[in-house]
């Protein structure tokens, strides 16, 4: 019966697909390719309503095979992609985009640009939401490539400018690239998403043409619009922009304060701490201590010698001045039940001493103040340091012994 025929066809289709899958997962590209030529028949009777139809499957599998197959060439790949574009109308833009990605990764920037332009002019019925998104991405990538051309042109012109020439046509061309890039990049970064690359390029363009207000607005929007994800890079870009603009310390600190609130473990926290420590205001210095303590809570900072030296420096300052010991006490209160095991165990003392003496010095100083002179970490490191006849370790021992009452006040 015809019904049975359909069923068998479906079954053999599934079997074929599973063979292909098996071959792909075992990197047997030739075998997979042979099965794929059989699987193409499945296009004949495509009654499936699955969300990935045979045409998409063929595109995905074929692409994967052509990436890895020994005898495939770029020409063949392009040819296959062109066929795939016509095969599935719904996925046209997606296939175009993937094709462009492949060209870009292979350094064929011009071909990629052509493809993007072509895809941009594609129209078919009413666009779905996904197609709309894909179209926006295509435009954005074209903008990115325009930016690259602009940047290239700019560099050439700058070199020529040094020689004292001015090439009006080249300059016009550059401005043309700018306009094309700016239009497209501006569009995509309005939509919520992660657009680090596009934002950076757009801001670069704006800055070059002196539109700092627009640049600031774009960066502020990217960082503070609540519809966007909490992307640390958005804050970093804003901070870097402000720094480039020579903004006041206050605005830099407020930008970093927000970054600190969302990512206390960001690497810029060292800069932030240094900035705060230099401040004359007590509140800021207090914040600086908070920032460095918070950063050192994270496992990724455990062996960061720079961070430890920041903390050691600030703690030492406070201890010597004997003012604001309560700051340390407050920070220490929420940590004293786990920092000793996390940072100041005997095992770590041994390892830090072996791997990084200066790290162990800074840590030992902090440990000696926070946990007293009987702390395992301090005892081990200072003992080893004295044994190795290092002067600063002897000084350290003296310092900690002299300030041992501080420990009692902090812990009490």
């Amino acid at each position: 019966s015809p019904n049975e025929h359909k069923l068998n066809f479906k079954k053999s289709k599934e079997a074929c697909l599973s063979y292909i899958q098996d071959a792909l997962l075992q990197k047997q590209w030739k075998r997979a390719a042979e099965f794929l030529t059989c699987y193409v028949e499945s296009l004949e009777k495509d009654y499936s309503r699955e969300h990935i139809g045979p045409s998409e499957m063929i595109w995905r599998i074929g692409t994967e095979i052509l990436w890895h197959h020994s005898q495939s060439s770029m020409k063949e790949f392009n040819c296959f992609m062109e066929q795939m574009k016509t095969l599935g109308v719904k996925r046209y833009l997606k296939v175009c985009l993937e094709h462009v990605f492949h060209l870009l990764c292979n350094g064929q920037i011009d071909e990629a640009y052509q493809n993007l332009s072509l895809a941009e002019s594609w129209r078919f019925g009413e666009q779905t939401a996904i197609q709309d998104k894909e179209m926006k991405l295509i435009q954005a990538y074209r903008g990115l490539l325009d930016y690259c051309s602009w940047s290239k042109q700019k560099n050439i012109l700058l070199e020529h400018g040094e020689d004292g020439f001015s090439d009006l046509a080249a300059e016009q061309e550059m401005h043309g690239y700018f306009r094309k890039a700016a239009v497209n990049l501006k569009e995509i970064i309005k939509i919520p998403g992660v657009w680090d690359e596009f934002v950076k390029c757009y801001v670069d363009l704006l800055e070059f043409y002196g539109d700092h207000n627009e640049a600031r607005q774009v960066l502020n929007e990217y960082a503070y619009n609540s519809k966007f994800p909490a992307n640390p890079n958005a804050h970093v870009y804003l901070y870097q922009f402000l720094k480039r603009q020579g903004e006041s310390k206050k605005s830099l600190i407020s930008a970093l304060k927000i970054l600190h609130d969302i990512v206390p473990s960001h690497e810029l926290m060292i800069d932030f701490n240094t900035m705060l420590q230099k401040s004359k205001k007590r509140k800021k210095r207090r914040l600086g201590l908070e920032v460095i303590f918070a950063a050192l809570d994270y496992a990724g900072w455990k062996e960061n010698a720079k961070a430890w030296s920041c903390l050691a420096k600030q703690v030492k300052q406070i201890v010597i001045s004997e003012k604001h010991l309560d700051w340390i006490q407050q920070e220490w209160n929420s940590r004293k039940d786990w920092w000793p095991a996390f940072h100041f165990s005997r095992y770590l003392a041994k390892r830090n001493w072996q791997e990084n003496t200066s790290l162990s010095y800074e840590k030992a100083l902090v440990a000696g103040i926070l946990l007293g002179k009987d702390c395992k970490y301090f005892k081990y490191v200072s003992h080893q340091g004295c044994k190795a006849q290092l002067k600063r370790f002897r000084m350290l021992k003296k310092f900690v012994n002299r300030h041992n009452p501080v420990y009692l006040r902090i812990s009490g």
């Binding site: 697909l17 599973s18 899958q21 098996d22 997962l25 075992q26 990197k27 047997q28 590209w29 030739k30 699955e50 969300h51 990935i52 499957m57 995905r60 599998i61 074929g62 692409t63 994967e64 990436w67 890895h68 197959h69 020994s70 993937e98 990605f101 492949h102 870009l104 990764c105 350094g107 920037i109 998104k133 954005a140 990115l144 939509i191 919520p192 998403g193 992660v194 680090d196 950076k200 519809k227 994800p229 909490a230 992307n231 640390p232 890079n233 970093v236 990512v263 473990s265 960001h266 690497e267 809570d297 994270y298 496992a299 990724g300 929420s334 786990w338 095991a341 996390f342 165990s345 770590l348």
Partner: protein, 876 residues
């Protein structure tokens, strides 16, 4: 660790997932995802782009044709967990009905029936005792006085049997008698009210069925590998559950050579629950191991040195099954525990349990699953908690106030509809702020610093949801390797990702996460079946069943031996088998060798000799371990020495002259090849014709006699034939009965019924015993004056028969004889005492005879057969 300077572009939406469709078989292929302008290219003329997916990865190739067993199977056979056919209704009618509807039909009636048969005491105990006198199950007609108060149930039983035979027949209609009976006694017959019992059973059945569809109790896996600290010899410790109930925890030292093999005997702990998960983390050079069973969690400390004994530290008990146990990689002796009631605890060995979160509801949208998970994050005081809808991070110091959403099943991560979190895992060893989340269709890599937006997403295309994952961090600039494992299908998938593609050489700047290379399928345990030596069909079937048991755990280790790098992957099955496979690293070849793809040859077609040897050893051990204990296969045997005194058994010093003569004749005839019938006509006194006592049931008298003669027992046979001997035997039997009665002393026989039955059976045995000389022990016992030939010691006789065999004792056979349940025990006791014979010789302790009379209804795992415990027992 620095945050990437730029991330791959992506849209960010909120709300429920919009993309439709389930997992697709090829969704993970052929996509670059997005591209990003690579850093070093900045200053070049041409910008360079890098893809999110499709970067080159390391090449790892299987070293052998299939996975190889690491440890030999332990004694005791594996009891497979229920299969769909065990609890689903199977019949043509039902299949037809089901074709229209979706879902399976649970065979509720059969299971309830099983309960009544297997636990009659629990089901009908008290009323059974009350009514047993009034129910008669025999075939005989009831006599007058009894008929007034007794019902004959035989017809009812026949009706039931008929019903059983017609099962699934569309024309079946209930027999009116059954309907009548069930109406009459439905309300009072059952010990547990039927409705309640049915509810419980139904609940259990649906639970079992949902476990069959997806068993999340195994999440995380029950296998762990602890690498050893001393670098010299490549050793490590494998932690795995074992034993028939998987309730023993083993710490086995394993040497990593060509094939990993066990060294020494493992440290062993007996726990009082099936081990569901084994989690381990190394802190300050010591390993902390958390073990989860349903209602207990325990923690051990294992010093990093090889050979150091593991120390049990603490155990907690939960009222609701625990669903997760993870060990902190930051602080020694800290773990996190989740229970199915939605509670998450931080468990510190020093300070005890701290409840962080309690919410029976799921976090982001409603999902019925009570499964919860928790893991640590880069901040030692911040824990993640997960349910099927997503992940949240909580600060243990202020869990109510400080929390943020890390992952949501929704548009944020570009999920599909119906996607659910299967396993979250902290990837701290590779990157301190990264997280892995697997769902049934995709894997996500998340960065805590950028919550909700996955830094990597890839459709893994596995057939079953990945319940196990294992991370092997790569050195800076190299790719990290992640293994995903599924339970039901035993799938194993290896993929690589990188979190720094600009490399150390170009400044080492941190960059966005990239998927590297193509995913790779690894050998599953079941795949080695084709490489095992050919088996008998039924053995093959059993082996297939065992090898296809769902996977229960996954562990792996990277092993560097000079320039050779290899990866060893261990997979545990629910049957307790641990198989291992080795992948070897191939250094990158020149960019375009003539045959780039075929260079990645598939794994060897045949196992190496070492592997083949290991297969054979494993098979041998398996067949030894799974052989039925002798008491199940052989009828119980009894030493005659225990029935009779030495004096009883003592015969004359040698064969009599007549015997000698006869034997000589026989031998002579045989040598001559003469006809054996003629020997009677020799000069011997012609024996009188044997007088048959019974119509020949066994072999005819002639051949019986010849057999006896052949064995040298002719004389004895002859004596049995004579009537004198019969009388004597009857006398001997009576004597023995008297002796036994005396021996039993005060042991009361509650009814003469049983005693008369045994007596009858004895007598019938006696009359049966006549011609059956093929089992001649019976005559031997009785004819004490007979002279057994010296050449045949009594022990050589096949075991037999005054001992009531198992069949007689089994409750079924007793029931068939119409013996009420409560009397069966008495009967069994009586029969067993009778079987033990006269008590004169002291019973050897632990002899086989003591096991003889365990009633078959109690034939569960008897504790006596368990090996003696040596290791301390935790409070599990």
């Amino acid at each position: 660790m620095e945050f990437p300077a730029a991330l791959f572009p992506s849209y960010f939406g909120t709300g429920p997932p919009r993309e439709e469709g389930g997992p697709s078989p090829v969704a993970g292929w052929g996509e670059r995802g997005q591209v990003l302008e690579g850093g070093p290219g900045r200053r070049q003329v041409q910008p360079a782009f890098v893809p999110r997916r499709g970067a080159t990865g390391e090449r790892w190739e299987a070293a052998d044709a299939a996975a190889v067993p690491v440890l030999l199977p332990s004694a005791g056979c594996w009891i497979p967990s229920p299969a769909p056919q065990d609890i689903l209704y199977r019949s043509g009618l039902c299949r037809k009905l089901r074709a229209g509807k979706s879902g399976a039909t649970l065979d509720f009636a059969r299971q309830l029936g099983h309960f009544f048969v297997d636990h009659p005491e629990d089901a009908f105990g008290s009323l059974g005792r009350l009514l047993h006198k009034n129910f008669y199950l025999g075939n005989a007609k009831l006599k007058r006085p009894a008929r007034n108060s007794t019902i004959r149930m035989t017809a009812l039983v026949e009706d039931i049997n008929r019903l059983e035979a017609r099962r699934g027949c569309p024309r079946q209609h209930l027999a009116s008698r059954l309907r009548w009976f069930s109406h009459l006694c439905r309300d009072w017959l059952f010990e547990v009210p039927l409705g309640l019992l049915a509810d419980c059973l139904h609940e259990e059945l649906t639970q079992q069925w949902s476990n069959l569809l997806f068993d999340d109790s195994l999440t995380g896996g029950a296998l762990a590998w602890l690498p050893s600290e001393d670098g010299g010899t490549p050793v490590g410790r494998l932690l795995h559950p074992g034993g028939q109930a998987m309730n023993h925890l083993y710490f086995q030292d394993v040497v990593l050579e060509e094939l990993p093999h066990a060294r020494g005997s493992p440290a062993q702990f007996e726990l009082s629950g099936r081990v569901r998960q084994v989690a381990a983390a190394r802190v300050d050079g010591q390993d902390f191991v958390g073990v989860r069973s349903d209602y207990h969690c325990g923690v051990w400390r294992v010093p990093g040195k090889t050979g150091a004994a593991p120390t049990p530290l603490q155990v907690i008990r939960t009222d609701v099954p625990a669903s997760c146990l993870t060990v902190s990689p930051h602080l020694p002796g800290e773990l996190s525990v989740c229970t199915q009631s939605g509670t998450i605890y931080l468990w510190s060995v020093e300070t005890g349990l701290q409840q962080l979160h309690h919410d029976p509801q799921t976090m982001f949208f409603r999902d019925h699953s009570p499964w919860r998970w928790s893991d640590f994050t880069s901040h030692p005081r911040v824990l993640s908690c997960a349910d099927r809808t997503g992940l949240q991070c909580l600060d243990a110091r202020a869990p109510k106030r400080c929390h943020f959403d890390l992952f949501k099943v929704g548009e944020e991560a570009g999920c599909q509809q119906g996607e659910r979190v299967v396993l979250p895992m902290y990837l701290g060893r590779a990157h301190p702020s990264q997280y892995l989340v697997t769902t049934q269709s995709s894997v996500y890599v998340l960065d805590e610093r950028l919550p909700l937006v996955p830094v990597l997403k890839w459709a893994h295309m596995m057939k079953a949801p990945p319940l196990f994952a294992h991370l092997m961090p790569g050195k800076p600039g190299r790719s990290h390797k992640v293994l995903l494992g599924a339970s039901q299908t035993q799938e194993l998938l290896l993929f690589q990702y990188r979190d720094g593609f600009w490399g150390v050489s170009s400044g080492g700047s941190q960059s966005a996460c990239q998927l590297a290379g193509t995913p790779q399928k690894l050998h599953s345990i079941a795949g080695c079946l084709q490489h095992l030596p050919t088996q008998l069909p039924h053995r093959h079937h059993l082996l297939q069943q065992r090898l296809a048991a769902p996977a229960a755990g996954l562990a792996a280790t990277l092993h560097e031996d000079g320039p050779h790098k290899s990866m060893l992957i261990f997979q545990l099955s629910e049957a307790g088998d641990i198989f291992c496979q080795r992948l070897t690293h191939k250094t990158a070849q020149p960019p375009v060798p003539p045959s780039r793809d075929e260079a990645t040859t598939p794994s060897p077609a045949v196992p190496s000799p070492a592997a083949a040897l290991q297969y054979r050893r494993w098979l041998r051990a398996l067949s030894r371990a799974c052989r039925e204990p002798p008491r199940h296969t052989w009828p119980p045997s009894l030493s005659q020495r225990r029935l009779f005194t030495r004096r009883d058994l003592e015969g004359p010093a040698g064969p009599s002259s007549l015997q000698k003569q006869m034997r000589q004749r026989l031998r002579q005839t045989m040598q001559e090849g003469g006809c054996i019938q003629h020997w009677e006509s020799l000069a011997l006194q012609p024996p009188p014709l044997p007088q048959t006592l019974e119509p020949a049931a066994g072999p005819d008298p002639l051949s019986a006699r010849l057999t006896a003669a052949w064995a040298g027992d002719w004389e004895q046979w002859w004596e049995e034939r004579t009537s004198f001997s019969v009388a004597q035997r009857q006398q001997a039997l009576r004597d023995r009965r008297r002796r036994q009665k005396r021996a039993q002393g005060r042991r009361s026989l509650s009814a003469s019924f049983t005693s008369s039955l045994t007596y009858q059976s004895e007598l019938s045995e006696l009359s049966d015993g006549g011609p059956s000389l093929l089992s001649p022990s019976h005559p031997h016992i009785l004819s004490q004056e007979g002279s057994p030939p010296a050449g045949s010691p009594p022990v050589r006789f096949p075991p037999a028969s005054p001992v009531p065999d198992e069949a007689l004792l089994s409750s079924q056979s007793l029931r068939c004889r119409g013996i009420p349940k409560e009397r069966r025990k008495t009967l069994r006791d009586y029969l067993s005492v009778w079987a033990e014979g006269p008590p004169e010789p002291p019973e050897p302790p632990g002899s086989q005879a003591s096991q003889l009379c365990i009633p078959s209804s109690q034939s569960q795992l008897s504790s006596a057969s368990q090996p003696l415990r040596k290791r301390p027992r935790m409070g599990f």
